[in-house]
Symmetry: C2
């Protein structure tokens, strides 16, 4: 499993895609402890990006080795990413695997890579280099990820995650953080549907509790 | 139909409640035109709240008689309500009935009353006067509105709409704007479910398109 950018896969109308889910352990070596490594709590772990380590320690003021969601938001801001509250919540859900409420440096490094990868995806699909994703660009991106959605659903995604503040105010398109949310939400809802569609006939049966659960866990 | 505060109604596990949907026409008299009224485009309409009219005209700089979503956000700020983007979008969806993308003064007055009514609801259920709604207060509010939800669903509402930035960071509870969103979302999803549950057995059957539509139209 990887949390890199998504790749095309599967058949319409909905399919499994491998992106969005972080590997539980992360791919990073544990901090410190190696011969020649900096003392615990001091310098950067072996192999760590010094800039990343600096941002992490700058927000981890008590040097506990872990940062809260609020501190994460600040760290993202230091990296020039102003994410809205719901996007920060989504990232915490994806990367705070043990639900401790805090993010260690290893988790943080994984999260950073995830965002960097998504940023490359964003740049790739922002065909007109406008700095935001419009309806046609969103359609292309989701098709590449293996989602062939109807015009109606694409339009609803545009309305919900667009930077515009109403149904008819769609000029600015999707900012980076809301584009990521739109893609992760599509994946989440599609996979929830697939899990329930055991006979793969495109129809599911569910009760109120199951229904509410899917809606409320979508980013 | 009214857009005042909700009242208790119905039976578990889900029911129709009358709140959240604005009356299409609004209850306000049309602006101007009466004997003695200010000239069009000039002073406040007869019967209008002067403070409200002042805020409206302050953001309606071209005096077109209608404000955009972005201007609405500014007007709300003038009224001391800092709502997040998704809440502003929800209000536009509820009050921009003709989907023109703009809000007339009549629609604005209706919207204002709606928010004021919700604020009274918020104050009523904020039993400990903390300025935010915690899990128990949310449970009480939704029960009064006729929703008897399981602890799991209540917890998911708390996580999704809470001001906390992660699953475990729930101390601050729900701010006013997110509390309104949580209640309107519960109503929206419940009513969508009810419409599909024609035989009222608590189970619905739906395809992927229907499923995505409900999720993406929830506030």
């Amino acid at each position: 499993m990887s949390y890199g950018p998504p790749y095309p896969y599967g058949t319409p109308p909905y399919q499994q895609t491998p992106y969005g889910a972080p590997a539980p352990g992360g791919n990073y070596p544990p901090a410190g402890g190696y011969p020649g490594a900096a003392p615990p709590g001091g310098g950067a772990p072996v192999g760590a990006d010094p800039q990343l380590w600096q941002w992490f320690t700058a927000v981890d003021v008590d040097q506990s080795g872990a940062i809260s969601a609020q501190e994460l938001r600040q760290a993202l801001l230091n990296g020039d990413w102003n994410f809205d509250l719901d996007t920060v919540k989504m990232l915490m859900t994806l990367f705070d695997v043990d639900r401790s409420g805090t993010i260690t440096f290893d988790e943080f490094a994984g999260l950073w890579k995830y965002i960097r990868d998504w940023q490359n995806v964003f740049r790739h699909f922002d065909a007109d280099r406008s700095g935001s994703i419009d309806g046609r660009e969103l359609k292309n991106a989701l098709e590449q990820f293996g989602y062939r959605l109807t015009p109606k659903i694409l339009r609803l995604l545009e309305i919900k995650y667009g930077a515009g503040e109403s149904r008819v105010d769609l000029k600015p398109g999707m900012t980076f953080d809301r584009f990521v949310r739109a893609c992760v939400a599509t994946k989440h809802v599609t996979e929830s549907f697939q899990r329930m569609d055991e006979d793969r006939d495109g129809w599911v049966q569910m009760n109120y509790e199951q229904f509410m659960t899917v809606v409320l866990t979508a980013p």
